[in-house]
Amino acid sequence: MKRFLSVVLVLALASTVVFAAGNKKPLIGVSIWSSTDTLGSQCKRILDAAAKALDVNLMYIDQGHVSEKVTASAETLAAAGCDGMIICNSASAEMNAVINTCTKNKMYLAQFFRIIDKTANPNEYKLACQSPYFIGAVHESEVDNGMNLVRILCEKGCRKIALEGWNSGDATFLLRWQGYKKGIEAWNKANPKSKAVLLDPQYGGTTTDTGRATAEAIINANKDIDALIVAGGGGDTLIGALAAIDSMGLKGKIKVMSTDFLADLDQQLASGAMAGESGGHYADPLFAFMLVYNAVKGNYKKPAGSFYEIIFPYLYVASPADYEAYAKYFVDDLPYNASELVAMSKLSEPDLAKKSAALSIQDVMQRRK
């Protein structure tokens, strides 16, 4: 047994040495909820492509959106000698510790899928502005996204909409929820004779089985719902919710909308299991990566008393035809090839922001002509 343990120990140390060897390229850390779930693996795919094109090493840490793991991930990446890191945090309060760690270790930092709310988290926002290493944030307009999803559902005739979140208190979920509520308010104001109602959220975690159990509980408790919004959670919560609806014989009767595209969205749309989805935003971390890469290279200077903000557009898909075009350029291929990624790395920050805003299916189609 001692010999066996010695062999295991030697192998573990050897693998560390092998991975550490030749680590002279820039090293950028990625603190992500999961690099293997539906959305996370897509993010990893495009980040790996960018790292390959720009000759950068990446180090991933899956923190599961657990607050202490989020803050610990920055410490781990700093200890690993990262020159910069990008992070998708859970709650904005975590950013206090993360920014301090990055400042202390002179490690550049950018958020993806997130931005610190100036009003709700003024201390963290101030710290981000003051830190010379917090370079910027890339995020979607989650409130608008929420409003759009509710509007689409109401236009499809849904009047009682249930909501399944993933973790209570998650910053993105709270913004989307705000959007759903605003969407309902806007609809009811415009259609006082045909009002819609949004139920309070129940939380289904980020796994398929908990997603299914929660969706079943929601549907059993509210038999008259005609729509279910699965707010996100990386895609697995949605897979579970769809399994629940299918097993209860309600496919097509309850219209499902979500954010985070599934790999088989075309089949789900064709079968009526999904009414539509917003997503395609897996390239968001690419722009956070570009911010940090340019900061590490000395190309971008941190704006005094502020930071860069890039708004990334959502794509909306509501039919199999919509999805076919999306799949061609975003699933089977990446929206940027190696030469485009190298060209992107040379853009100024305002041009990078414009590049982000311009991303759409049509944009990729034109570039591929």
Binding site: M1, S34, T36, D37, T38, S41, I61, D62, Q63, G64, V66, K69, S168, L199, D200, Q202, Y203, G205, T206, T207, T208, D209, T210, G211, R212, A213, T214, E216, A217, I218, N220, A221, N222, K223, G234, D236, I239, G240, L242, A243, D246, S247, M248, L262, A263, D264, Q267
Partner: protein, 333 residues
């Protein structure tokens, strides 16, 4: 009438009641009564949204996967051991099953889950008995190892949807009757092992006093190893049911798989609490059903998830305390 004529009869009646109180029938009646109590409370509070026969079937389908895991955990928990790698094994076995199902269909799915689960159990047991350090420490280390292996396995899955079962096929175990058949077979196996083999008796003996059991001739190390193998065989069945139920499995790292340990464990607590009535299997199955029923009942009442967790925890503590509290002055391990 001679003095004390009634006395023996009174003693007999009291003895009969004590005997009844310790019987399997009493234990099962108490479990059924608890189920009816919770059903009645939520049914009264939410008559239209809770507790119809269709809904009860849904609750049962959700609960059986956790009950299978709870049965497996019982083997080592009664011996005073614990295993933190259950969640990681569920993830890894499910992903191995999904990967093999791409090539070998249902055989790959079922055998992948069961064999992978059992092999991990044998490995855990061997490592525990050889290293001679507490099971918690061994299994925390193994949890991290298994999570990493699961991440490698998911990368081997070249399907468009890694780790997910395709919606067209491979879903027999996600619904009746196959999910009930798989779970029912596991419950029967557990019942058989506890009732008709020496494993159950020896596990209890080791849990009561390991040294005494050893002096009585019980091969403690061997039965601990058997306990780990059986636990992870049941975990393999749970992996099959869980991956089918959710139609996929997510590979996680950083001890995130640990969340999956606790729902089966709650059922095991019921089993341990009702062990004295000789009905641990029924207690685990009904216990998990009660927990899922409470969750659904609170959702029907539109109670937030955080309060839901609080209520579930409080109910579990209350039931286990009422049924399994030691006598005053007794040593609680």
């Amino acid at each position: 009438m001679p003095p004390g004529f009634w006395r023996p009869r009174i003693i007999n009646a009291s003895g009969s009641f004590q005997k009844l109180k310790a019987s399997r029938a009493f234990g099962i009646s108490a479990l059924v009564a608890l189920t009816l109590l919770f059903w009645a409370v939520f049914r009264l509070l939410s008559p239209t949204n809770f507790g119809s026969s269709r809904q009860m079937t849904d609750y049962l389908q959700t609960s059986i996967q956790y009950a299978v895991g709870g049965c497996g955990l019982y083997f080592i928990v009664v011996m005073g051991l614990f295993d933190f790698s259950i969640g990681a094994n569920i993830v890894l076995s499910a992903l191995v099953g999904v990967l093999l199902s791409r090539h070998y269909g249902y055989w790959g799915l079922v055998l992948g889950c069961l064999l992978c689960g059992t092999l991990i159990g044998a490995f855990n047991g061997l490592l525990y008995s050889r290293l001679r350090i507490p099971s918690m420490i061994v299994t925390v280390g193994l949890m991290l190892v298994l999570e990493s292996v699961a991440n490698f396995v998911v990368r081997l899955d070249r399907a468009g949807f890694p780790g997910k079962l395709s919606s067209g096929g491979m879903l027999a175990f996600s619904r009746a009757p196959w999910n009930y058949i798989a779970a029912g077979a596991a419950f029967l196996l557990m019942f058989f092992l506890l009732r008709f083999t020496r494993i159950g008796t020896y596990c209890n003996a080791i849990g009561s006093d390991e040294l005494v059991a050893k002096n009585m001739g019980v091969d403690v190390e061997r039965y601990k190893l058997i306990g780990f193998v059986l636990l992870h065989f049941f975990v393999g069945v749970m992996a099959l049911l869980t991956v089918s139920y959710g139609r996929g499995m997510l590979a996680v790292t950083g001890m995130s798989s640990m969340d999956r340990n606790f729902k089966p464990l709650m059922g095991t607590f019921f089993g341990v609490a009702f062990k004295k009535y000789g009905c641990p299997v029924s207690a685990i199955v009904i216990g998990e059903f009660i927990i899922i029923m409470i969750f659904n009942g609170l959702v029907a009442l539109n109670v937030p998830t955080t309060i839901n967790d609080f209520v579930t925890g409080a109910v579990l503590l209350t039931i286990v305390t009422l049924t399994n509290r030691g006598a005053k002055g007794s040593v609680v391990k």
